[in-house]
């Protein structure tokens, strides 16, 4: 896996640019990753990102938009508003997690 420097920290990424070592992530990195794709993180974004991180730590898998709604309590509409067009992948990217595998 190649490495790159994000926010002054050397981290592992895959060919697309998704981080591959969730433990290397921190909030400073999240701000840079969000900026890379034109998103400025607000309190609402952070609430969602924190859920994704916690859920991943417990489940070993990135939550789908469905799970972010039913378990994380963030309605689908809000997810699309916060992370336009491709919420599942954008959330995962900023949270330093792999893309979700689930179909729904």
């Amino acid at each position: 896996m190649p490495t790159t420097t994000i926010n002054g920290k050397e981290v592992h990424i895959d060919a697309e640019g998704f981080m591959t070592e969730p433990s290397e992530w921190d909030e400073g990195i999240a701000n840079v990753l969000a900026g890379n794709i034109g998103i400025e993180l607000t309190e609402a974004h952070w609430r969602l990102l924190k859920f994704l991180r916690e859920d991943f730590a417990q489940q070993g898998e990135t939550a789908t938009t469905r799970r972010v709604q039913t378990v994380g309590g963030v309605p689908t509409k809000e997810q699309f508003a916060l992370f336009p067009k491709k919420p599942a992948k954008k959330m995962a990217y900023i949270a330093g997690l792999p893309k979700p595998k689930g179909c729904v």
Partner: protein
Amino acid sequence: MTDQPVIPSFGDDEESDRKLAIICSKGNLDMAYPGLILGNAALGEGVETHLFFTFWGFDIITKSRMHDLKFTPVGNTATHMPMGLTPLPGMTGMATKQMKKAMDDLEIPTVPDFLDQIVASGGHLWACRLSADMNKLTDADLRDDVEGIISASDFIEMTAGAQLLFI
């Protein structure tokens, strides 16, 4: 070590006119899901998505029926049951219950909940004019988020250039 930051492409800079139209023509529980799963996935990828409900697929959006779609093993060799047993009384009820449980265990929403999610994701629901007339149904009988009862030609016109799935 890479010099340039590698940033995934989420397609934001591309002017995408990709559009998906899904025609849902079946009212069995097992045949309702493929269209919903694919439509939901397309919306999650930023694709404009339209679902058109016609013939038996009308049950999926009809208020009095959408909570009660059924799965039957009758005539379905992929269940690998002896076909002679499949029409026995109670078999369809049992198979339906099992399928609903299997879906629930996988955290797949029920059909009405799934449509809620699709609409919240920006999906469009349309009902077929002929099916409404055949079943003597009006807007009032359908989910409130169905955008209209339209003719086949309206649908074809509206989905010009779309990729199309018939289920």
